[in-house]
Symmetry: C3
Amino acid sequence: MKKALIASTALVLTAGVAAADVTISGYGRTGVIYYENTAAEDAAGVNESQVVGRLRMNIDAATSTDQGVDFGARFRIQWDQNSDDAGQLNAGKLWVTSNGLTVEVGNVDTAFDSAALLYASELGAFDRSFGNSRGAFFAYDADAYDNENYVGIAAKYEIAGVSVMASYVDPDQSGLNETGLGTSEEFGLSASYTWNDALELSAAAVMDGAGIEDNDQYFVGARYAVMPNARVGLNWIDNGEVLGLDLGNTVTLYGDYTLADGMTNIEAYVANNSADFNESDNAFGIGVNYDLGGARLGASIHRDYDELVTADMGVRFDF
Amino acid sequence: MKKALIASTALVLTAGVAAADVTISGYGRTGVIYYENTAAEDAAGVNESQVVGRLRMNIDAATSTDQGVDFGARFRIQWDQNSDDAGQLNAGKLWVTSNGLTVEVGNVDTAFDSAALLYASELGAFDRSFGNSRGAFFAYDADAYDNENYVGIAAKYEIAGVSVMASYVDPDQSGLNETGLGTSEEFGLSASYTWNDALELSAAAVMDGAGIEDNDQYFVGARYAVMPNARVGLNWIDNGEVLGLDLGNTVTLYGDYTLADGMTNIEAYVANNSADFNESDNAFGIGVNYDLGGARLGASIHRDYDELVTADMGVRFDF
Amino acid sequence: MKKALIASTALVLTAGVAAADVTISGYGRTGVIYYENTAAEDAAGVNESQVVGRLRMNIDAATSTDQGVDFGARFRIQWDQNSDDAGQLNAGKLWVTSNGLTVEVGNVDTAFDSAALLYASELGAFDRSFGNSRGAFFAYDADAYDNENYVGIAAKYEIAGVSVMASYVDPDQSGLNETGLGTSEEFGLSASYTWNDALELSAAAVMDGAGIEDNDQYFVGARYAVMPNARVGLNWIDNGEVLGLDLGNTVTLYGDYTLADGMTNIEAYVANNSADFNESDNAFGIGVNYDLGGARLGASIHRDYDELVTADMGVRFDF
């Protein structure tokens, strides 16, 4: 068996022996999140301010064949503060790519979760926003892989600013467990288009999200660079329904502005969600990120749909 | 403490600073396996075709001493589709090697499981064969390490085409758990010889396989290259017995033939097993592998001892 | 996202592109430990001699910012012979360092456990000593991370031979679990000074060790190089008390001597512990290590406070 050495792609390429390579990339982030208690949490004595943190490492292996087809695979190790250590090592994902088409099998990224702009209203070092989807759908599983017969297949095609993705998840391919919540097959689709680095368009849909029958969700979003250092975006999401509970539609207006120093980025959003169980239909937040070059300091403050205030401050670095 | 850097062996050696190095190697494979249902499975509604996949990464660390003795260790991360994520990170193996002699301690490869030719009749991208051993014996544990007091020791010696290996496994070295199934100490031995790249001979034995008393198993095999691009082999295996159930003897005739393109390899086997509980004494299979250079496409079709048909198609890549 | 390549720091630095790097370092050790049985263990049939081993791999990621601040993080994979495979992948630690000050968050090293000289009386390939602390305190958690709301913060400052460290551990930052054993917040402090490579001084204290109220522990130690190849040290430890059980004070006299070959190191200690439950107040041991260059052979023999004899022999290599 040919033994793959860990080395940088660059080094391997200059040596002219291409072959296989393995890389580790990821990020770390740490800081403090304050979240105003509900009356019940206050009575129980929950601490409103807690240290939070995440460490993610993706171990990626890839190999090229003589025919120009590339094969690869990923394991992810992820630890979140306030989680136990089960599920830190995630189920594998395998992929093959050729001529712009990539097919993934296993613990795949799904089309809806990967939709461009879906998370574009997130703020601060911890990427939090109440303008995100509230719906339930499958995604790359970065925690304990509870359902051992879960299988996902995804396909992605990119050409000239257009990106199209489809995904299919069978929560139990054994066929033995066909009833109950979350046992349906999920099908998702997303597409995005970028024009001239100025206009971004995105749309996505998912049927039977998270394997829940009739939990269909839809998304359209657009963002436009009104100035070289300022962007404005608008997202519309139908969050679907779970067990008869309608999660409403969400409309999120968001934008960001980079100061003249080129390192400070101010961001904000206002979101409206139509679900009946909200205390308030509106949530909003404002945040700031300061680029350290390789790392960023971030802070944000939000009010959620229960009219509770939450704020965070922290640092994130990528490697 | 000296900090070991991850770098390719080659690069370290050319730098002339030997020292320690860490590498990650392994393989990924994915595809579909069809397996004809038994009547009971049919009634339960089991899906006959399922997506299968495996991702294996071996993390190997090694260091050389001034005396010419090498030390090393391995962790393996392995994920199999349709397994939960417990046991993905396997127990460690440590080894020392000098002058052709290697000694392993911990989660070791065993002599019987490592016998040359034992798995030589396997077909396709998933390396499946009913001509394999049906017996129970210990091997490197790539799944959950259930018995925490399990310890293995193995020794391997190679010289001039001859390879000899012995292994010893104590399923519970604490000494507290000396009764019940699987608590005996297993002892295995194997030897192989290769002549002129044309003739391969192999033999192995294991006593108290898988820690089960009197579960002794034996194997002899030979393979000969009748043409530069065609080989024929014959394996004989006594599969031992478990709890009074005799698993019979297996005789497997197998061969492979590489087409003139040098990339397509046709393989086949016929196996006969004498166990009383078989529906049929014969199983057989035929398969093909197509070499992509760094990856291979494979397919195979088999009939098992219950006269059920199974087929697979998939891709495997090494890194 | 910038993709970090695994490569040696040295190689990256000579390439002059600093950025992020990931390294894997650690050690392996294996051998045999003999431990004389108590009467109860003898009756149960426990084996007195057992194979022991450990494999540790630290996966370290780090990145430098333009401002001269470094960020980094660590996962550790560790396997110990005679442990099951849960908890092999440890909770993450994140750190930031600048101008000699390092702050850690998450699964941190604690000040008391990191005190210089605290473990200086350890012998042989397995680093064992009855002159160590007998107290209970938090440390980097290299096994299952049971308490998911555990959080640690540590700060370390080094300048001109002086090193100062403080650590704080909250076993449950959720605030929901404030009663019972081990739920208090632990605070630790340590300081050390090295003069001319000849004199080492160290002191440390920990309040509410291991989250146990009033379990306060103290340590002072000193070591002096009486000759270039011989050192003598003295440690004093107040081991605190757990649930009203006083663990006594420990005084340990220890030393080591390197033979003229420069590779053989003889070590020994005598320890006195004042706890009431000891069979004998004195424990002692003598050991030897032989440097292979990249690995070491070691052996030691001890008598513990129950007057039982234990001995070990093994090899350890670093990578």
